[in-house]
């Protein structure tokens, strides 16, 4: 049975697409058949980050409208045969997605793949609601700052009320917190929220802490998911997050200058 996971945040620019590309690639590297689906119709980005923008012919909207078959729209990743991308349409808008269409296409993908990662657009409108609708699990991507945390809280509320699982009264969507763009120096200066503060407010399990890193922008611009940059702290953090998603218990790695006491406190509360 496939795991359908939505990558969501409410707020824009926190790293949803970067994280989708990284986790999707990571899952494929571990041998799981994975598809990443771009729900950001009209602002297509996932194909760029995945480095396959020149190979897009048909897209998600074409498949929903019945203008193309699913297999015509799916792009196989050149680096990993387990990985596929279903790109968004750049010329349409979110209204082109329908609940029935999304359910049908995600249902088809779930039969063929082990992991279906849905890259949600920002906001809480149609696009974001449809991206989360079919999800079994959610990775809530959050930056350590108040507006991002509040938007994530809002999204957690929607996950509990506006998903298919909620409508059917099934077990709730499993939630994971992915803290991105974490900058220890700014946390120490008090510019950024501490991991503990974010966990206290959102009260969901921590999947990983991804440090702010130059490697992320470099990776985006070159179309190579940052998880493939094994030397970068961000790449290693994503690799750890993939392990945890697969059920491994590993300690949370912290960027430099990390006190051991905080480390242990944190692990204690999220293990």
């Amino acid at each position: 049975m496939a795991r359908i996971i939505v990558m969501t945040s409410g707020k824009g620019g926190v790293g949803k697409t970067t994280s989708t590309a990284a986790l999707g690639t990571g899952l494929a590297l571990r041998g799981h058949k994975t598809v990443v689906v771009d729900f950001d119709v009209g602002l297509r980005n996932l194909d760029l980050i995945m480095g396959c923008e020149r190979r897009v012919v048909f897209d998600f909207v074409n498949v929903i409208a019945g203008e193309a078959k699913l297999h015509q729209a799916l792009i196989k990743d050149k680096r990993h045969e387990n990985l596929s991308i279903l790109p968004a349409s750049q010329t349409r808008d979110k209204e082109a997605l329908t609940k029935e269409g999304v359910e049908r296409v995600i249902g088809q993908l779930a039969q063929e793949f082990d992991y279906v990662l849905c890259d949600s657009p920002a906001g809480i409108e149609t696009g974001a609601l449809l991206a989360m609708y079919c999800a079994d699990e959610a990775v809530v991507v959050t930056n350590p700052e108040v507006s991002s945390v509040r938007d994530s809280d809002r999204i957690l509320g929607l996950l509990a009320s506006r998903t298919r699982r909620a409508e059917r009264g099934e077990a709730p969507v499993k939630q994971h917190l992915l803290l991105t763009r974490y900058d220890q120096a700014r946390v120490d200066r008090g510019d950024m929220l501490k991991v503990e503060d974010v966990l206290e407010i959102l009260a969901i399990p921590l999947l990983g802490i991804v440090p702010e890193s130059e490697a992320v922008l470099r990776a985006s611009n070159s179309g190579v998911p940052v998880i493939l940059d094994e030397k970068s702290a961000a790449g290693r953090a994503y690799a750890d997050a993939v392990s945890r998603l697969l059920g491994d218990q590993i300690e949370h790695r912290f960027p430099a200058a990390q006190g051991k006491s905080l480390f242990q406190r944190l692990f204690g509360r999220t293990a």
Partner: protein, 261 residues
């Protein structure tokens, strides 16, 4: 800092409370306090009374049947007042004195009649039976407002966090929250609100105007607190109460904060 408002939208209407007070005044006007000195007070009161529905002219079978029924629960029926209902019987002449005697002999106490035709009025009064207006049957009364009320007056208990943008309303009851109320969340109750996680959002108690409603919380960090329409924003909360276990009540037009033991 405190003002009287109807907080956010139409939910927390102050109107029902106003109406109630107006109605209270009307009742007071109808029953002035003066007669107390005269050693009595005349007041209206609703009493449940048994109704005996008559389908045909009473005969021996009627008397036996009624006596048997009284015998099934003598403690309940013996001497109980009863109104004789003639709706099914119709307008035919009837010997009220004999009927009264008969009912009395069965162990019930006939006090009046209802659904009487014009020609039956004087004979009924002459037999010492009062005229009652046509009312609804008891079971209708019970099934109506009473059951609806018990449905609504339930306490709402929630164990999941209330997230930003979510709104929980306990109509005509208390609201008990076992997890956090996030910033930007709104929890509303016509009764009291208890929050066992941190309270960071808005809490509106006594939303229908109950000035006795209170808010209890384990860690006060609310954006807004309101009781019966009197509110205060987080800026107005004294720093010494922040992140503390606090109860908030209403005294006059002021929200009163008290640290819980």
């Amino acid at each position: 800092m405190m003002k009287r408002v109807g907080p956010s939208g139409a939910r927390a209407e102050a109107a029902p409370a106003e109406k109630l007070r107006v109605r209270g005044r009307d009742v007071a006007r109808e029953t002035p306090a003066a007669p107390r000195q005269a050693g009595f007070q005349l007041r209206g009161s609703a009493v449940t009374v048994m109704v005996l529905k008559l389908f045909a002219a009473p005969d021996a079978r009627f008397a036996r049947g009624l006596a048997d029924q009284v015998a099934t629960a003598p403690d309940f029926f013996r001497g109980a007042p009863v109104i004789i209902d003639l709706e099914q019987y119709g307008a035919d002449p009837i010997d009220f004195a004999a009927l009264g005697e008969l009912v009395l002999s069965c162990g019930l106490n006939p006090i009046g009649v209802r659904h009487v035709a014009a020609a039956q009025r004087d004979p009924a009064l002459a037999a010492g039976l009062a005229l009652f207006p046509a009312g609804r049957d008891t079971h209708e009364l019970v099934a109506g407002p009473a059951t609806v009320k018990t449905d609504k007056a339930r306490t709402v208990v929630r164990s999941e966090p209330v997230r930003s943008g979510q709104q929980i309303y306990a109509r005509e009851g208390d609201l008990i929250l076992l997890a956090a109320v996030g910033a930007g969340a709104e929890v509303i109750a016509d009764g009291n609100i208890h929050v066992y996680g941190p309270l960071r959002g808005r809490a509106i108690a006594g939303a229908a105007g109950d000035t006795n409603a209170r808010i209890f919380c384990q860690s006060l960090d609310a954006e807004l607190l309101s009781i019966a329409g009197y509110y205060c924003v987080s800026e107005a909360i004294e720093a010494k109460f922040l992140k503390q276990r606090v109860q908030i009540s209403l005294a006059g037009e002021q929200l009163v904060f008290e640290r819980l033991p």
